[in-house]
């Protein structure tokens, strides 16, 4: 199959910027080049914030790129084109329509008369194994069956390109696996006019199971950082060493920072996007690594599998651990630092103290808040004050998230207190400042 294939879909210099309510632009996707050839499945993989869903929406014509262009069969994409279909993470079924009516919807848009519509819809419902449920409403169905309706609705219009936005992430593990296999079977059977599939996922194994090529995106702004070709034949087995090697390789790519981001291991700036990692989950992760067979070192794929964490959940925790100097990431492994070991072994009070030290040393934002509160005679400051400062670096939405993370960490470490009603941050009264001690 290595002959010259036709290009279905391509993006050139695609950049997407959004504008904050204050009118400041911020870039989500930068200079993306990508091609989808006939007969291949391409997976887009990245952490949260890498803009992979935005990229999918730009490619499908739902969103317009700010710069660059998208072409489908050589034609510029201005909106969703005939021949495109999408399967959504949340299924996006119309709850007031029956299964059959949902499936017929795409045909109605194509102007197909009722009798043919009915026939095609029934065929599609049969194809995804839902016959007997034509008259059911989506809310009567389980998640897996709903996503089958989603597939039927997408496939009934006989698309050439199928976009899938984390199609399995709302399903339980077993259902997701079944659906993946059925999808592969359909794809390989050649019963569909489908020519290419573009899949967004944050599940590394899913990408390796399904895709012929995996594009790994970096975050803030999203760029294509690496391309991994998957040449394994189907059916692919998770236990296959080659499979595991690929998974490992992708973990390595995701945990290795590209050169410009490396610099962030130097003292951070105030505007660093703190990963949204709850302290409880972070502590749990570190404990698990410490207790593991390798005593303080763990293989990431194994960790993810064991703790049932997908990329979106796992990487913020890893980032936070590394940011605070509690662990280091290397070649798809996580290893606790001396501080990390100390943290895990300490009791509740000890952990808080260590956490406070690490925060003040490593996270400028927390240090900044702490300093401001300590210099004010009242010991209080409104959260808006810090939000405004953060907005110099990022969008309002991101600023709120980052500040919420910083507040969560600072509260845990008993560095300061926060009153939800008034939005006031205040100096912690009971506990003496650990930085002073």
């Amino acid at each position: 199959m290595q002959t010259k294939r036709k290009t279905l879909l391509e993006a050139r210099n695609l950049t997407k910027t959004f504008t904050t309510p204050e009118g400041k632009p911020f870039t989500v996707l930068e200079d993306i080049h990508l091609e989808l050839q006939e007969g291949e499945i391409v997976a887009l993989l990245g952490r949260s914030g890498s803009g992979k869903s935005t990229l999918l929406r730009c490619l499908s014509g739902l969103l317009r790129p700010s710069a660059g262009e998208v072409r489908y069969r050589g034609q510029p994409v201005q909106g969703p084109m005939p021949g495109m279909a999408m399967v959504f993470q949340s299924f996006a079924l119309f709850p007031w329509l029956t299964v059959q009516q949902n499936v017929e919807l795409g045909l109605e848009a194509m102007g197909i008369p009722a009798p043919q519509r009915r026939q095609k819809a029934l065929e599609a419902i049969d194809l995804v194994g839902l016959d007997g449920f034509e008259k059911a409403f989506p809310k009567e169905l389980s998640g897996g069956m709903r996503q089958r309706v989603g597939f039927a609705r997408a496939l009934v219009t006989e698309p050439e390109v199928l976009f899938m936005d984390e199609p399995m992430s709302a399903l339980d593990v077993l259902t997701a696996e079944t659906l993946r296999l059925e999808l592969l079977n359909l794809w390989q059977s050649g019963r569909l006019p489908l020519k290419g599939i573009l899949l967004v996922t944050h599940n590394i194994e899913e990408a390796v199971l399904l895709a012929d090529r995996i594009l790994v995106l970096s975050s803030n702004p999203g760029r294509i950082r690496a391309e991994v070709a998957v040449t394994l034949g189907h059916p692919r087995e998770r236990e296959d060493p080659a499979f595991q090697e690929l998974v490992e390789e992708i973990y390595c790519i995701l945990t290795t920072r590209p050169a410009p981001e490396r610099a962030t291991l130097e003292p951070l700036t105030l505007g660093h996007r703190l990963p949204q990692a709850p302290v409880g989950a972070l502590a749990g992760l570190l404990e698990r690594v410490a207790e593991g067979p390798d005593y303080g070192k763990e293989d990431l794929p194994r960790l993810a599998e064991e703790m049932r964490l997908e990329v979106d959940d796992l990487f913020p925790l890893l980032d936070a651990a590394e940011l605070l100097g509690l662990a280091v990431l290397q070649a798809g492994d996580i290893q606790l630092t001396a501080e990390g070991q100390r943290f895990v072994k300490a009791g509740l009070e000890g952990r808080k103290r260590i956490f406070a030290e690490r925060l003040l040393q490593q996270v400028p934002l927390v240090g900044h808040i702490h300093r401001v509160l300590n210099t004010r005679p009242t010991g209080r400051a409104p959260e808006e004050r810090f939000l405004r400062e953060l907005e110099d670096y990022m969008s309002t939405e991101d600023a709120e998230k980052v500040l919420a993370t910083a507040i969560g960490w600072g509260r845990y470490a008993e560095l300061f207190e926060y009153d939800y009603n008034t939005g006031l941050l205040s100096r912690s009264e009971e506990v003496a400042s650990p930085a002073a001690g």
Binding site: R57, S60, G61, L62, L63, R64, S66, V77, Q78, G79, P80, M81, P82, M84, A85, M86, F88, S90, F91, A92, L93, F94, P95, W96, L97, L105, G106, E108, A109, M110, G111, I112, P113, A114, Q119, L122, E123, D126, D131, G132, E134, F137, P138, K139, E140, R153, T157, F163, R191, N421
Partner: protein, 671 residues
């Protein structure tokens, strides 16, 4: 490809009829017959030469009157629905229009509904010249204005909160705007729309009673449109208690009928449009809906227009054309800026012209000033616009206006500035129903505003009256809250009791409170109570039910685990209320409070002036002011009253309810 066989259900032969058709078909035929009957009555000729419209107090006519009233309600509802779909869609979809349409809606919503009746009668009579339908339309329009605004707001809000995923799905499927509207936007907004329509109709019953008696310019008598409201008005005028009881019974049946035949089925049907992922346990049921769904032949008839719909449906389809992205294409910055600027300029000019026109209309060409002086009010001496008094003035050489108004300025001109009163005029000024200043000469010295126009001092006066009404509304809404909140909570915490009481409360809200006004009048007159205070409860008579049933709904929705936790920690008495009940029902209370105060403001026009036979009680307030000037033609005084009430309600909602609402949204939501 696999051959698809038809499902066995399709193959099973089905009789075209089901036994349910035996009920449905005659039912529909009877309804059609009644409709024709009512329509024929509503489109009778009506002109200067036809006799005055009146009703008979004979209860045998009540079924027919009920039918006419019902038809008016239905017409107003359909009109509201059509208006809602168009107006809200334009506001939500056409860029920039939102900035104009929504404030307009907000303001119209705060205007007193009964003011519209006076404002529009002349327009509709002109529109349907020579036909009774002009008057009908005026009445329907008044009911329409009592229903439409919150329906429009609800649909607009739904359009703005369409789930992102469904928008994306619709765009990906390349639905045409027409298809998107009917498959996505309308269904999504439907449950809220139905709920709001039901609330609106509840309020509508109150206004249907008040809007069937219309005064028409050029006619000495008020016109009584055949209907239950007119029947009640006449019964009140003649102090006929028995007729009131009959009217009460009729209204009771009408509200029940409306609920069973129209709203229950629609609510039950709208269940399926709820945007939820799992089935809720208790769903609305309606025997009428079940009946309709099982009547096979009737359904077949109802599907006859389907091919036309289908044709329209496919005609609008995109076919093989590309769809439209969810974002508008980027436009050149300069062009957008210029368009924005032009649009804002247009709004500014429009508002300026509007304010100018309004001031000119209210104050006259001098805008309330003449010869560098502020003009004084020029009152109408014939306060009741009584035709007899107008004739007597005419006999003495003072020509009254078309509606019978006689202005102070006219009197002054006829009596040399009040210095030389003829004996006839002197006697006339002392007749009841004629108002004259204590010191006529002094009043004539002041520079008077043009006849019928408002003077600046009056504006101040009206704001003062508005303040009194605001005080009444606030105090009595608080009072009924204190009464009904504990009761509502008591009921709401007991599911079995809730099942019984909740429909009663909803029925109470729909049952027009004006029917009970005479009881108050008799009591107040009998005990010689101060009307300034004792008339006020009438304003909240209708609104109180919203507080009750929102309190019930709010406390019934308190999650069980919270209740159990409260019990476990031994929360009792005041602590139980402060920590659990009050925070938990706060959002529901705010919703009820908004509706109750809105209703009270509107009710003030009928509640501050109440009548039973010859007894009339008047309280000082904006409602009484509007009611007094609403006799006859729409005039600057009514306009001023409506304007001030609109502004006050707007301010009241902005300053009080909106803040409470935000607080409720942010802090006390239970999901």
């Amino acid at each position: 490809m696999r051959r698809v066989f038809p499902s066995p259900e399709v193959l099973r032969p089905r009789a075209p009829f089901s036994r349910w058709d035996l009920v449905v078909i005659p039912g529909v035929l009877v309804l059609l017959l009644l409709l024709t009957l009512a329509l024929r009555g509503a489109t009778a000729p009506y002109g200067p030469n036809t006799p005055d419209l009146t009703v008979s107090l004979n209860p045998a006519h009540l079924p027919y009157y009920g039918l006419r009233t019902l038809l008016r309600m239905l017409a107003a509802l359909l009109l509201s629905l059509a208006f809602t779909l168009v107006y809200a869609t334009i506001a939500a979809k056409v860029p920039r229009t939102e900035r104009v349409l929504i404030p307009i809606l907000d303001f119209l919503q705060s205007l007193p509904i009964l003011g519209f009746l006076t404002a529009t009668t002349a327009i509709f009579l002109g529109l349907f010249r020579g036909n009774l339908f002009g008057l009908e339309a005026a009445s329907i329009f008044a009911i329409f204005t009592s229903q439409v605004w919150n329906m429009t707001f609800s649909f607009y809000a739904s359009l703005r909160t369409l789930p992102r995923e469904l928008q994306e799905a619709a765009a990906m499927l390349r639905l045409s705007p027409w298809q998107r509207f009917w498959k996505l936007e309308v269904p999504f907004g439907l449950p809220n729309l139905v709920w709001n329509a039901m609330m609106s109709v509840s309020g509508g019953w109150f206004f249907v009673v008040a809007s069937e008696v219309i005064s028409v310019v050029g006619r000495d008598q008020d016109q009584y449109l055949p209907g239950v409201g007119a029947y009640i008005a006449l019964a009140i005028q003649q102090a006929d208690a028995q007729a009131m009881l009959w009217a009460g019974l009729t209204l009771f049946l009408l509200v029940l009928l409306y609920d069973q035949l129209l709203f229950r089925p629609v609510v039950a049907w709208a269940e399926k449009f709820k945007f939820e992922q799992s089935e809720s346990s208790d769903t609305a049921q309606s025997w009428v809906l079940t009946l309709l769904q099982r009547a096979r032949f009737s359904q077949r008839i109802a599907r006859l227009p389907q091919p036309l719909w289908e044709w329209l449906w496919l005609k609008s389809a995109r076919g093989h054309r590309p769809g439209v992205a969810l974002e508008p294409p980027p436009k050149p910055r300069l062009r957008t800026r210029l368009a924005d600027l032009g649009f804002n300029l247009l709004i500014a000019l429009g508002s300026l012209a509007l304010v100018g026109g309004l001031l000119g209309y209210l104050l006259g060409p001098g805008l309330g000033f003449g010869n560098g002086q502020m003009l004084r009010p020029n009152p109408n001496l014939n306060t009741q616009l009584s035709p007899e008094i107008a004739q007597r003035f005419a006999a003495l050489g003072i020509t009254p206006g078309a509606d019978g108004s006689v202005w102070l300025s006219q009197l002054c001109a006829a009596s040399r500035g009040g210095q030389a009163l003829s004996s006839g005029l002197k006697a006339l000024l002392e007749t009841p129903g004629v108002w004259a200043p204590a010191n006529l000469a002094a009043a004539c010295q002041a520079p008077l505003a043009p006849a019928g126009k408002v003077a600046w001092p009056e504006v101040l006066e009206v704001f003062k009256l508005g303040f009194f009404t605001a005080l009444r509304v606030t105090f009595f809404v608080l009072l009924v809250t204190l009464i009904w909140l504990p009761i509502g909570v008591y009921v709401g915490l007991r599911p079995r009791l809730t099942q019984w009481v909740q429909p009663l409360a909803q029925f109470g809200a729909a049952f027009p409170a004006n029917l009970l006004f005479p009881l108050f009048v008799v009591t107040i007159a009998h005990f010689r109570l101060n009307p300034e205070i004792w008339v006020s409860p009438l304003m909240v008579l209708g609104g109180q039910w919203y507080i009750l049933f929102n309190a019930i709904a709010g406390s019934a929705a308190i999650p069980n685990d919270l209740k159990e936790a409260a019990r476990l920690y031994g929360l009792r008495g005041w602590n139980h209320w402060r920590r659990l009940i009050l925070p938990a029902i706060f959002p529901a209370f705010v919703t009820g409070g908004i509706t109750a105060t809105g209703g009270s403001w509107n009710a003030s026009i009928v509640a501050e002036v109440v009548q039973w036979g010859d007894t009339t009680l008047v309280a000082t307030g904006l409602g009484a002011y509007i009611a007094r000037w609403s006799t006859g033609e729409f005039n600057p005084h009514v306009g001023l009253g409506m304007l001030v009430m609109g502004l006050l309600v707007l301010a009241y909602n902005r300053l009080i309810w909106r803040r409470l609402y935000q607080l409720a949204e942010e802090r006390y939501r239970l999901d």
